[in-house]
Symmetry: D2
Subunit: 293 residues, 4 copies
């Protein structure tokens, strides 16, 4: 491609349509992981603790979210934390517990990578690689993700416009990996009642602009446990292809994000309510249809 003079960091307007554009790929991208379709019409649910804190914590939480119908287990082994004195994650030990939890429950796993040097290793352990909000503009990491053979769950930066977000996803597709799942997780605004402002209109806007699947993370989007199920249901209604929520077997003891983590029972209740709304709009929560009760 010819180099282009570009007077700003703005998005070039005179290029042929990008790989992420719906104009370029009319058919919705469906990402199949172990038989579970993300973007295929049904709604997938990713659940688990913010951080893998211990073998017991993870396995117990995994068993419970699996029992209540989650399709994927989430859990962070490498944690981006505002303070260097906060818990930073268990590293590879955490990845091993995630593997063990997968064997135990059959749930494919989603975990975050933060460092280009760890992409290979994380890729070996996980089924879906998460790139978090703070790394939305970590371009070397996006380029590595482009070479990766696993799907990427790619979260919106908390101060990224939708166009910037799509151009960042373009790095991954351009690199050769078209298995990208977008995730709205709240943007930073002046409002302080919620941790972020969950931008639910971003879901239909993204679905109009791109063929990639879009999920919603109401845990980070709100920061408060009681708001999570309410916003999860709204996410279903605005057309999200899935939900990612934090669930902890003992939120009051969590090393991170305890206030926004669901109790397992709260997760179970949310699943039932989401199912009712999914049915109302002619959709299914993935597992309820495809898995034996």
């Amino acid at each position: 491609m010819k180099l282009k003079k570009d007077d700003s960091e703005g998005i070039p307007n005179d290029l042929p349509s990008n790989l992420v554009d719906r104009d370029n790929t009319k058919v919705d991208t469906v990402i199949n992981v172990n038989g579970i379709n993300i973007g295929g019409g049904d709604i997938v649910v990713i659940a688990g603790p913010c951080a893998v804190e211990s073998r017991d914590q993870l396995l117990d939480t995994a068993r419970q979210v699996s029992g209540y119908g989650a399709n994927f287990l989430r859990g962070g082994a490498f944690k981006p934390r505002t303070s260097p004195y906060s818990f930073q994650g268990l590293g590879e030990e955490g990845l091993q517990y995630l593997s063990e939890a997968r064997e135990l429950t059959g749930l494919p796993i989603v975990t975050e990578v933060m460092d280009t040097r760890e992409m290979e290793m994380v890729c070996d352990y996980t089924d879906i690689i998460q790139i978090g909000s703070r790394n939305m503009h970590n371009f070397p990491l996006l380029k590595e993700a482009g070479k990766c053979r696993k799907p990427i769950l790619f979260k919106r930066g908390l101060m990224a416009t939708i166009d910037e977000y799509l151009m960042a996803a373009e790095y991954i597709l351009k690199g050769g990996n078209d298995q990208v799942i977008l995730c709205e997780r709240g943007i930073r605004t002046f409002e302080t009642s919620t941790r972020n402002t969950l931008d639910l209109s971003a879901v239909p806007v993204l679905k109009q602009k791109t063929h990639l699947p879009v999920i919603v993370d109401p845990s980070h989007g709100t920061g408060h446990r009681w708001l999570v199920p309410i916003m999860a249901k709204a996410a279903v209604v605005v057309g999200a292809d899935g939900i990612m929520v934090e669930v902890h077997n003992h939120p009051e003891e969590a090393l991170s994000d305890g206030m926004q983590s669901l109790y397992p029972e709260g997760f179970a209740q949310m699943m039932k309510e989401m199912e009712i709304l999914a049915h109302a709009i002619g959709k299914e929560i993935f597992h309820l249809k495809h898995q034996p009760a």
Copy 2:
């Protein structure tokens, strides 16, 4: 009340609970207008043009939204416009057309007041008085609204935190008028794909903090016609007591807000979809239950 030293414009913390607080009034406020309950569990729908442009435009639009199930007719006679060269509204002539539309359709009317000097006159014509986003901190107007004998539809400022918004509503209640309907209509953020960012989590947050009814305006919240029904449905799901939407009989000819105004047929379709979601959460769109078809 004793004067209090207050080092900032911040909200005083050492006061007895405010009139707007749920702690102060445990029972949800229900506002009855001509037999229609706002806040009573069912969902009300306020529809009509941004501005009253002519007798024909208003009566035609009114007839159509009434036929499709709206509970209230909205329409601005006094219009707050960014530019002094934009259409400023028909003034009292517009209020007369609104009265005529009410006689024709039986729909109670909602219209905005911007000037303390016009409060009396607008109050004589309308069933619900709207105070718009730009006047959320127009304290003399709020004080007049406090003396008013009609319910106030009070929109959140596009730059207002939820706490500031509730303290502004407090002006109206303190003035003697406890018939206040809150309305989330989008906040200003850095995102430009939508006109504002509709803060749907504000609905449950408001419902937790106050006993006042809360409705949502997805027209201003998104700025795009196609997004309005999607976000209206999400508003129902997060617990809104009603929806206010702009409908125009010929949006492409509208003197304001044409891009975000629904066609009457789009409004009809939205009503059907909203009804399905209302039923899914055990609610009704008001008219469907109480009015003869």
Copy 3:
């Protein structure tokens, strides 16, 4: 003027240049009040308490700021306050104290009007009428200001773009009053270390777009006393035509804005430092040149 279809609240682009535009009026507007020029190259200083709280408080503060070189006395008689339980101002009694302070010190006065019904009265008492941030989009008030025979100190709304701000000023000019002084006073952002984020680049941007004088309010812009002189000096350097600061004879007892109010001695010190910077860029603080020491 022909009505124009306008699909949004956006600013129309196809109009002849507006009255506020520099393209329309090449020469800088200079506003003369009692022999003091605002916009004429020298820097004016407006100082005084946030609110007029008592005769003693005002006269004492007025005497002191006058002695230290202020050109105008500010003080609010009608106060826009977030909470209805905060001090709301003394009303006309406050205006009378301001008149008395003018007689005592010779300083012309600046005070805020919030209600169209009070424009006439405030106009009778004051030399410059202030329209505050919260009323930047109070269009009936702007229209009254357009008919007013006194200069208008017109503050930027805390979430208004520069273009919206100028279109709001256009209301006043279009109404017939071309004596408008613009005032940057901080915008709302996500940052919480300061009360607002003082947007100093707005000063040269405004000076480029319009012929109107521009002043800066570092008191509201920062919310902290110790930051006020620092940002006042920077305001001089970026080209502001003046500064408006809050000074209180006993800030620790102020009924509003105490934390951001200068002590009289701090004001005196700020004036000396501002003078040095004004000289460095070839300007003067107004009084130092024109008044006898």
Copy 4:
């Protein structure tokens, strides 16, 4: 250190004071690079192109900024770009040209690192390592910077509060590198007249909270060439220890940031004006005192 339960991503409050805190280190940190002190009272100037585009472009620009008094040469070899189709930098070839420019001019160099895998290599070439806004929360990179033997020019994220910014700097200090230079470069707001909103009050706020030196980047802070010198001067006045500006020998041909890049002659003019202001507040532009003309 004992692990701490932390219910949010918030900054823990119950820790002993952090390494970045002024309470912890009363004396201002002064960073000496080749005899040039950053933070020692004088003002340093870092100048050069956004990106190293070619040997000629860099050497020509370097010669000019050196001639006009810059203390450091900046230039990006690894470029974070919104679009993958924009120029991504010359990589190690760019670093080699920077070395050559250093030999030619004697100016120490500042260049950005984006990838943990490249920290070692960039560290070998450069005198100061830059970590850009988009990587402010790239924690693995911050940890590598902590092990690095070169000073870190660490830019504020465009969405970061001052407290978050300082906690991110804490990662570098905790890692063992106390040679950190902070840099305010504008934050994202709703305003669109400027590329970002340069938060100049952040300079005194940072200087109060931390002992680290603070510089300002008015090029990214404004996005417009004509605003750069104005805001650079204001930065001097609010207490910045230095300025970083983009200068290109042919801005109209720049592959990135051309609109905000100074012409060499504009840079020369800015230096003269900055010197006047530095003198007015009792400071010097570093080179003018210490280097032979």
